[in-house]
Each structure stands twice: as C-alpha cells, then as structure tokens.
C-alpha cells in the first residue's frame, strides 16, 4: 500500500509540536529557540530568509542558539549568507549542507570554511536559479522569513521590502512545509496582505525590527571625474546609439553617475524620452533627479532601499505600490524582468580577462553571484523584438541566414582600468580560477561569461565586442581599452588602431567627448543632501550617509 500523505502527516506533526510554544500562531520572541527545536528535524532543508537587503535576523539568532544535539545536519537553502549566524550554524553542526546565492560581507569567512570542509557545498547559484530549484529539488521543509507586521491569523505585511518572501513561501507552504515569520509587530489589521495567513504557520514578534542593508545608496559626493567621463561615454556611445529604453543598472558608482547625468548631460544631448524610460531596478536614491525631471516612466523593484519609502509612496505613477500606498517589490519577478524584458544590463566588476570573462571573486573571498548573472546574460529564450535588441543582433551576427537572425541583449561592463587601491581590473587570468581549484569548486565562479558581454567601457574608451570577428580581435579590443594595466600595455598598437578605425574601439574624442568636460558640475546632485532637496524632502537617508 503506497503512502501518499506522508509529508502532510509529518508537517501536521511539526505544527502540532510547535503549537506547544505558541498562543494560536503567535510566538513570543523569547520562545524562538523552543519553537525551532520543536519544529525542525535533523537533516531538514531550511530556508532562512535573507539576501543582499533584508534579513530574518531574529530567527537567524534563534537558529544559531538551538541545541545541536536536537537540531543538526540541516541543509540550508537560502539566498544570502550575510549575517555571522548564517555561518555560525555550520561551526556548531546545526547545519551541514549549503546551497546559496550571495555572500557579500561573509565572503572571506565562507571561503575559509569551504576550504576547511566545515560546509558541504551544493552550489553557488544566481537568485533565479535558486528560486527555481526551490520548486524542483531544493524545496524547503521549513522556511524562516521576515515581514513588517502580521495579524493573529498570520496575514503578513512584508512592507516595501517584499523581496524573496512570496517565492520562499510559495515553495514551502504548498509542498507540505512549515512557514515561520518574524515580524516587527503584531497588529489587529495589516496595512496590506502580502502573504495570506493560511500560508503562515507561526508568527514571532521579533525583539528588534529586521535588518535591511542600504546596499543601493551611492553618495554623489564620492563620485570622481573619471567615473563621470565613463558615464558620459556610456550615455553617448551606447544608450543613445542603441536607444536603450528598458534596462537594469548595477550598484556601482559608474552607473549611479549615469543616473545623475541624465537630467544634465542627457538633457543636453536631447535624449529625454528616447532612453532610460522603463527600469528593472531597486529604488536608487541617485535616480531621484531623473525621475523628478520626467525621464522615467516606470520602475519595478527587487526590494526597497532604506530611506526611500516616503518618496516612493508619493510617486505611485512611477513605482509598483499596493492599495496601502507602500512599495511592493518582488525579487523573483524583477529578476525575470531584468532577464527577459530589459534590452541592456550595465554594471561594474572587479576582474576582466583577455576574453571578457569577469568575476567579483578575489583569491580569498567567495562573494557569490546574487542576481547579476541573470541580468548580465543574453536570454536565449527571448522571442520579442525591440530596436536595441535587433541592432545588437545585427552587429553580432557573423554567419548564417539573415532571415533567421535573432537579437542580442546588451551586456555592458563599466569599469575603471584600475580599481580600488590601484589594483588592475584587467588580468590575464581570473583569480576565480585559482580559488575554484583551491576549494574544489566544480564550476569556476564566473560572474558574466565572455560570450554574454557585448561592450566594455573604461576611461580610455568603449570596446564593442559584438563587432569583433575572432578571438584575436576580441583580445586586442579589450587590451585597447585596458589603459596602463599590464594587459593594456601588452596591446598590439597597429591592431588596436585598425580596430579603432572600424569603430570597434572608440575613444572619447571619437565620440565627440572632451575629457576635461567630465566635471562634477555635471552631476544633477553632488551630495546626499542634494538628493533630499530633489525629492522635496521625501527621501530620508540613513545616518551613515548624512553629512549634516
């Protein structure tokens, strides 16, 4: 006799055990450890919610405080390894296996623990891949998530930082899993139901509001003239030429400079309405001047950004907001939008090799991928045309029947030839390869593969890799914009000049840009305070970004 309801019965038993520590669904913060020890079983797959923005930190502390005699050998399946507790559980034996996506601040420690064998790694994913596997073979038994408020029935208001929550809950609640939510407060009625209560089994009133990292705030005061020059080249040489209207920006200073140049330099070039109208983007404070100047039609967000909530509330024509007025973000949908609905991804990286492979991994840090490879790749499943996509397709097509030509997404790397502390961005061999060998990764952690990259922009110029016809041209095009790095100095001068004559490489002067015009005076906002003024006082920057 086949048992068809084993998972369901196990789930009911877990919930039954957990109820001993709850009043209905509500669990006091002091009982988190008891609850987790009652609900979790050794070897469970557990999703502890957290990504590059919000963190279920109260539940993370609770999990780390569990008795490893009772809770052990968990298989963590989660977006981010960000808090110290995320790794503490591997040191105590509470957790054993790991599948994840992003590990910014814990990058060095995770590398050490992988090397030391304390973590059995499944794989480092992109966000979308990990979400996809939640529905195929990494479905959580228990999900530990974070929201702003809940009622006693478990109806959950995630607040503007909805992020991964709907995806995690969908995979867990509908496949016999248990969902535990930490909230900042229990209320009689939530402002908006982001997750219906019948998908939430327990609600913990956290001792402190969940943590959110202001990862997408770039202070205009720190922008350099080099970054402004690179931004000018990108706007004139790529945005304008391809007519990029649908796009995603990375989080670096280069793209933030582009955002701040739209109302000034972009306006002067007459590009308003022609470019940058529709975005898959977090609510970057540096986009405020462009929004206020009428450049932007709409923005869908992965998450929110600290301090932007009041501004977003006042601009519902631009952002996706609920009936309550606050932002509704959704990482899975926005990543999908970035992958399929955008004509361009543009962002920075730490290392680029001679073919154009890039990585943010250094010898001692495993930073993970997050979402950049989803945005920064050419989706072969795309079937709808746009002018930008078709133009890139024509440039890239070397052989084959023109009638069967398809378009290309533009994937642009925006880098200074030397990064922080004058470390060269261009290298013969990525550090990622060395690291993969050292800690035994089957797949080298490449952020964006060479065959996805279409352009590299540096202060020396733009290399259009679509126009390169063989590996040698590609290498020389990259060397030709690599400045005074060893890679740049190793260029074949004659070949680089030939590429320049063909428009494969374009210098500022080829684009009609005078480098001395790259001045901070061009920035629509020169400080965080300027951004506050642009927002009409609605943007409330966190203390670490205020110089007043």
């Amino acid at each position: 006799m086949t048992e068809w309801r084993g998972e369901r019965q196990a789930r009911d038993a877990r919930i039954q055990a957990g109820r001993a520590h709850a009043d209905g669904k509500v669990v006091p913060a002091g009982s988190v450890v008891d609850l987790l020890e009652a609900v979790l079983r050794p070897g469970d797959r557990v999703c502890l919610e957290g990504d590059n923005q919000k963190q279920a930190d109260c539940l993370a502390r609770g999990l780390a405080a569990c008795d490893p005699g009772k809770v052990h050998d968990l298989h963590m399946v989660q977006s981010g390894i960000v808090l110290p507790e995320h790794l503490d559980v591997f040191e105590t034996g509470i957790a054993k296996r790991l599948d994840y996506s992003y590990s910014g601040p814990q990058g060095a420690r995770i590398a050490k623990m992988l090397y030391g064998g304390q973590i059995q790694l499944g794989a480092v994913h992109t966000y979308l891949e990990l979400f996809a596997r939640y529905f195929v073979d990494l479905t959580p038994h228990v999900a530990l998530i974070a929201g702003v408020s809940a009622d006693r029935d478990g109806n959950l208001y995630t607040g503007p930082n909805t992020e991964d929550t709907p995806t995690v809950v969908e995979a867990t609640a509908f496949k016999n899993g248990v969902v535990i939510a930490q909230v900042n407060q229990i209320v009689d009625k939530v402002p908006r139901v982001d997750i219906p209560g019948d998908r939430i089994d327990f609600v913990v009133e956290a001792d402190t509001p969940f943590y959110v990292e202001p990862l997408f705030t770039r202070d205009p005061a720190a922008m350099t003239e080099t970054q402004i020059l690179i931004a000018m080249m990108a706007i004139k040489g790529i945005y304008a030429e391809y007519g990029i209207r649908r796009l995603n920006h990375g989080i670096g200073f280069g793209t933030a400079a582009i955002e701040l140049l739209l109302p000034t330099y972009g306006e002067k070039l007459g590009l308003k309405g022609q470019i940058c109208t529709h975005w898959a983007l977090n609510p970057h404070p540096t986009l405020i001047p462009a929004i206020e100047s009428g450049w932007v039609q709409q923005v869908h967000c992965f998450g929110s950004e600290v301090g932007m909530d009041r501004y977003i509330r006042a601009r519902p024509d631009i952002f996706f907001t609920g009936a309550d007025g606050s932002l509704r973000s959704n990482r899975a949908f926005c990543q999908t939008a970035g992958l399929y609905a955008c004509d361009m991804f543009i962002g920075a990286t730490l290392q680029i090799d001679l073919m154009g492979h890039s990585s943010t991994i250094t010898q001692s840090r495993v930073a993970g991928f997050g979402g950049a490879p989803n945005m920064g790749s050419d989706p072969h499943g795309r079937r709808h045309p746009s002018d930008a996509w078709m133009k890139a397709g024509r440039e890239g097509q070397v052989v084959g029947d023109p009638a069967l030509m398809r378009g290309r997404k533009l994937v642009v790397q925006l880098v200074e030839t030397f990064g922080e502390k004058l470390v060269p961005t261009f290298v013969e061999k990525l550090d990622a390869l060395e690291l993969a060998k050292k800690i035994g990764l089957e797949l080298a952690p490449v952020m964006i593969y060479a065959d996805d990259v279409t352009h590299i922009v540096t202060e020396e110029g733009i290399a259009n890799l679509l126009l390169c016809r063989d590996a040698d041209e590609r290498e020389q095009a990259i060397r030709g914009v690599a400045g005074y790095t060893d890679v740049g100095r190793g260029r074949d001068r004659a070949k680089v000049e030939e590429l320049r004559a063909r428009g494969v490489i374009r210098r500022p002067e080829d684009l009609g840009i005078e480098p001395l015009d790259a001045d901070r005076a061009l920035l629509a906002a020169k400080s965080i305070k300027d951004l506050v003024h642009w927002s009409g006082g609605l943007y409330e920057p966190p203390a670490k970004f205020r110089n007043w």
Binding site: K526, S527, A543, N547
Partner: protein
C-alpha cells in the same frame, strides 16, 4: 587643475565644498587681483614623499598669495584637500608660516586661511608638527600686530588635527554645513575609544559633533554660511570688520568660557543635549535646517557670540 574647465566660476553658483583650493582663492578675491607666491611653476615640492614612492604636487598642496577683497589688500592661504587630504608637510607648512611672517611687514587688512586639512602628513610628521607650532606662533605675532587672521572652513577634508589647533588661534572663523572642525578625527576616536563611544560610520553623529552647525551654536565659529564662494566672501568681509582685540583680557575670557563650557555641558551624551541646554527649542530639527532658519536659531542662543577667542 581638475574642474577648471567646465566648473562654474560664478561665485554665487560655485560650491566651496566642490571647488579646488585655487578656484576658491580666485573666486573669493576681487576679479583679477590674485597674485600667487611660489606658484606651481616654481615647483617647490616635498623632499620627503619620494622616499615613500608617493606622488608630489608642484605646490605641495597649498596656494599662498596676495589679493584684494573689496579693494583692500589681504594675504590668502588655501589648502588643497584633494592632495593628501590637505595635510601639513614641510613645504606646505613653510609656505603658510612664510605668508604669516610676511604679513608683519606687508601689513595687509587681514590674513585669510582657507582650511581644508586632515592635519599633519604622516610621512613627514616631524616637519609637519613643527609647522603647526610655527604657524600658531606666527598667528599670535600677526594678531598682536593688530592684523586679523580669519579662518574659512568648508572643504572636503574639514579642519582636523593641527589644523583644528591653528583654527583655535585665529581671530574669527566662518564655517559651512559641510565644514568640520576638530582635533582628533572620527576614526581616530573610534580606534582609541571604541565604536560604542563614537561610531565613525554614523555620519550624522560625526556632523552633530564636529560639523559647522554645532561649532556655530557653541561659539566655536563666528559665522555659519551657505556653501558658496560668495557666502564665504561675505563672511570674510564681515569678520574682518569685527575681529576682536588680542590682549590679556581676551585670553582670560576665553579660558573662562572654555571652563564654563565643560562645566555646563560635560555630562551631555550627544550634541542635541547641548543644543537643548543652550535653549534651542527643537534640537532634533537642527541638522535638517536650511541656512536662514538656522541663523534665526543661532540668533536666539546667547553663547554663540563672544569675543573670547
């Protein structure tokens, strides 16, 4: 120099914070009146930095010269915060000391010091420390000769370390919101006393504790001005006109003021506590106040103005 090409030269539009040292001097003074001493073409550079394989600046990060302000002759020194954080090295310091000593014979209407410095340059620390001491001695001589020394503070690097000490010896100080005045910087305090004592990454805290508004409210600066060159020019003219006497009575008054300040505010945990005790109605609102509203607030605080220094 960076920015010279495209930046506005209109003093009403030019941001002091954004401008280079040379842009500040040129836009501050009467048009065409600046005569620079030991300009970059003279290449008086640091003899020490090459030992550390560090790049040098042709002017060692300071502009000194003579200029007219509303027709009156003044001597001006401006530190370049973009070169080594405006730090004092041997040549840098010597140019400032030389300028101050020249004031004794040239008898200008005032000496203006446009501070933008993190303090002494670590690579030439002894020379830098000596320069700080010599500068303070020279300022005392200049002030004793009846010539006001006015400090203008609103640059990127703030006015820290020895720069903060020198500022304390000036006749009058003008500061903008972006300007910071202190001796130990936020990171130094955090390193020595811990993040619980002072979290250097909490920039709002840094500005509450060392920023222009706080210095103005407690009388550490005499004018709070907007972040434009024209506002600093107006402040300089205003302060030259009301420089205090430099005598025993002034020094004793300053000693008494500082003693009473410690007594009154020594137990305050945050600048907002001090502002409340000074009689500011809504201390929490001070950081976000625009210049005019802040000036009104200052006008109601009695201790903000004094001749003590």
């Amino acid at each position: 120099m960076a920015g010279a090409h495209a930046a506005s030269t209109d003093p009403n539009a030019l941001s002091w914070y954004e401008a280079t040292a040379r842009q500040r001097v040129v836009a501050l003074a009467d048009p065409g009146s600046v005569q620079e001493f030991l300009p970059p073409t003279e290449r008086r550079m640091s003899p020490h930095l090459p030992l550390f394989d560090l790049p040098r600046a042709f002017d060692d990060g300071i502009v000194v010269g003579r200029a007219k302000l509303d027709g009156k002759t003044v001597l001006v020194a401006a530190q370049e915060g973009r070169f080594m954080g405006g730090a004092f090295g041997e040549i840098h310091g010597a140019k400032l000391v030389g300028l101050l000593r020249a004031a004794l014979t040239l008898k200008p209407a005032a000496v203006l010091i446009l501070f933008d410095t993190g303090g002494v340059r670590l690579q030439e620390a002894n020379a830098g420390e000596t320069a700080i001491a010599e500068t303070m001695r020279a300022i005392v001589d200049v002030r004793a000769a009846g010539i006001p020394v006015i400090g203008l503070i609103g640059g990127r690097a703030g006015c820290y370390g020895g720069g903060g000490l020198i500022a304390g010896t000036c006749s009058r100080l003008a500061v903008s919101e972006g300007g910071r005045i202190s001796v130990s910087g936020p990171e130094v305090i955090e390193t020595n006393k811990g993040a619980e004592e002072f979290d250097s990454r909490d920039r709002a805290l840094v500005w509450r504790t060392m920023g222009g508004k706080h210095r103005r409210l407690i009388g550490g600066a005499d004018v709070f001005c907007a972040d434009t060159v024209s506002a600093f020019r107006q402040a300089a003219l205003d302060l030259i006109g009301r420089a205090p006497a430099f005598d025993l009575a002034t020094l004793e008054a300053e000693q008494a003021r500082l003693e009473s300040r410690i007594e009154r505010f020594g137990d305050c945990r945050d600048a907002t506590d001090i502002w409340a005790r000074l009689g500011v109605n809504d201390p929490e609102a001070v950081p976000a106040m625009a210049t005019r509203a802040f000036d009104e607030t200052v006008s109601r605080v009695r201790e903000a103005d004094h001749d003590a220094r």
